[in-house]
């Protein structure tokens, strides 16, 4: 049955002379491609919306469409530490370093990742918290048996921090073809370049994908302060001292009692 449909599909596509062999087309867009962090920033949200378009060549199939919208933040190098008891005191003992893990990860899915496709596909596309790649730095002292504990702890802490999330059934369909989802960005969201990728799957196969760029940046005073503190550290330090001296002096003058 499937084979027949596939052959028919192929034949129609060839007949139509279409360059792409895909009958489904995916269009997606962001509500805003730039998030500004200002002094009153307490987190925000972005809306991803789009349309799945089908042309006449599309063959109706029993499998439903699956959408996965993945937001990934700038890569970070991260150390996960585990406390252990040493001489009656809780001390950081074992540590595992991860390189190039996303600073932010949100997966919005139409249904749970395992139902969408095989693990191989999910891992290739980085769909779902359990399928993302967390590469370990070569020299690690953590025994193999504990690696999963570190990985689980990392994911757990990131979920607690609202920096990592997987939300199933979070994509709304406004019509058969129009979809929309709202992705919250927490207040502690790292700044940098983000990637928003929308995958359209059906029956475990990737039909189409679209990628958008999203920039999260501090602006105005926040940006100025941050870059001053990092690029012109001595000037920043001197300014901080001067500001403190001035405040102290002002207080001394204002509250002078003698």
């Amino acid at each position: 049955m499937r084979g027949l449909a596939g052959a028919l599909f192929l034949a129609v596509a060839l007949l139509a002379g279409a360059g792409s062999a895909k009958a489904e087309n995916l269009i997606a867009a962001l509500s805003s491609d730039r998030v500004k962090i200002e002094s009153n920033f307490t987190g925000t949200e972005i809306v991803v919306f789009g349309e799945i378009s089908r042309d006449a060549a599309t063959v109706a199939r029993a499998d439903p469409y699956d959408l996965a919208i993945i937001v990934t933040g700038p890569p970070q190098r991260v150390t996960v530490r585990r406390k252990g008891r040493l001489l009656g005191v809780w001390v950081n003992r074992d540590a595992e370093d991860y390189r190039k893990v996303p600073g932010f990860y949100a997966a919005h899915l139409t249904r749970s990742a395992v139902d969408m496709a095989t693990r191989v596909v999910l891992e290739r596309l980085q769909i779902g918290l359990h399928n993302i790649n967390l590469p370990i730095i070569g020299k690690s002292n953590v025994p193999f048996s504990d690696r999963d504990d570190f990985r689980d702890a990392f994911l757990r802490l990131r979920i607690q921090n609202a920096l990592f999330a997987e939300r199933v059934h979070s994509i709304q369909f406004l019509s058969d073809n129009l979809f929309r989802t709202t992705i919250p960005l927490p207040s502690n969201v790292p700044v940098g370049e983000y990637k928003v990728t929308t995958y359209l799957l059906r029956g475990g196969a990737l039909l189409a994908q679209q990628e958008q760029k999203l920039t999260i940046a501090k602006t105005g005073f926040e940006q100025l302060t941050f870059s001053l503190a990092h690029r012109y550290a001595p000037i920043y330090g001197a300014a901080a001292v001067m500001l403190a001296l001035l405040t102290g002096w002002l207080a001394g003058v204002v509250f002078r009692r003698d």
Binding site: T42, P75, R81, K83, W90, H230, G237, A244
Partner: protein, 331 residues
């Protein structure tokens, strides 16, 4: 730059979206928003206590900030800035009263700067090793525990002596101990002292070191040390120690800004304003209390903070794991 990522910032409860408490301000270096009034209140409360007891209050403010979710590195570095402000107004008023021994302060300072540079260097290493939390906690337990117990014993003795109506035992500046037998003597005219520079250099550098590592001014250690070890007259002690703290902390702020880049100027500003206002009310209240009562209260406060750290070290934490971002946050 945030070094220790903690479970959702305690200063930002879920209710932050309600309009009545929308006084969140985003800290550019700590990279998280805080409730402006909460931080202002902390600065004010610590300022009140610092005015009350004549201390810098760094040893209270740093843990308060850490417990409320600000990364420890940012807390320590920013409190050094706040101490500059709070000690500056004190120095000014003691200067007007000519109650500062500049020569003694200069000696303490020169050694204090060396100590604090060493402290910032060690701070950076510890942060890299992931043991900053531990060292901060252990040091707080040790120092606050020791000083707290000493002060408690001293103030209880003073109170019972006063109750017994016994003769008031005063320590005269001329009285000598083994410290005064050390070589390399130097004369400090204003303090009426002729004493070896070795204990002064030791005192200055160790307090500078601790100040940079722990984000404390060290006034609560410096003042008793100057009185009981060096026998500096009480009226000179506070002004001199404040001047030493001012300069040491100014240097520590600068060095933290250069090496760890964790001085948050916005956080510092809110703390400073709260602190200087609180200090004025504290100083007024302090005049109504007796010295030994004040010392007893301060001893209990110091012990309580030390105990809080001890509990954190001994009790098994709910979460054994922690995540630290080591790189990848570019401006």
């Amino acid at each position: 730059m945030s070094v220790f990522i903690r479970t959702q910032d305690a200063l930002v409860p879920d209710s932050f979206r309600k309009p009545w408490c929308r006084v969140q301000i985003y800290l550019p270096i700590a990279e998280l928003p805080v409730n402006m009034f909460t931080v202002f209140g902390m600065g004010g409360a610590v300022g009140f206590l610092s005015g009350l007891f004549g201390i810098g209050g760094g040893f209270l403010l740093t843990p308060l900030l850490i417990f409320s979710g600000i990364p420890p590195a940012v807390s320590v570095a920013t409190v050094t800035t706040q101490i500059v402000a709070s000690s500056a107004s004190g120095v000014l008023s003691y200067w007007r009263r000519k109650a500062i021994d500049f020569k003694l302060a200069g000696m303490l300072l020169a050694s204090g700067v060396v100590g604090s540079a060493l402290g910032v260097w060690v701070f950076d290493i510890l942060r890299g090793l992931g043991q900053l939390d531990l060292v901060i906690s252990l040091s707080y337990v040790t120092f606050l525990g020791t000083i707290g117990v000493l002060m408690l014993v001293e103030s209880v003795r003073a109170m019972s002596r006063r109750r017994a109506g016994g003769a008031h035992h005063t320590r005269l500046p001329g009285k000598h101990n083994w410290i005064h037998g050390l070589p390399l003597k130097m004369r400090f005219r204003q303090s009426r002292l002729y004493v070896s520079v070795i204990p002064i250099v030791f005192l200055g550098s160790s307090i500078g070191f601790l100040g940079a590592v722990l984000g404390i001014g060290g006034g609560f250690m410096m003042v008793p040390a100057l009185i009981y070890i060096l026998r500096v007259p009480t009226n000179i002690v506070i002004g001199t120690s404040l001047l030493q703290i001012l300069v040491t902390m100014a240097v520590a702020t600068f060095l933290h800004a250069v090496s760890t880049q964790s001085v948050d100027i916005v956080l510092a500003m809110i703390l400073m304003v709260g602190g200087v206002i609180g200090a004025q009310f504290g100083a007024r209240t302090g005049q109504k209390l007796r010295g030994d009562q004040l010392r007893l209260l301060l001893a209990l406060l110091v012990l309580a903070v030390g105990m809080r750290f001890a509990v954190g070290l001994i009790v098994q934490p709910d979460e054994l794991y922690s995540v630290a971002v080591t790189s990848g946050r570019l401006p």
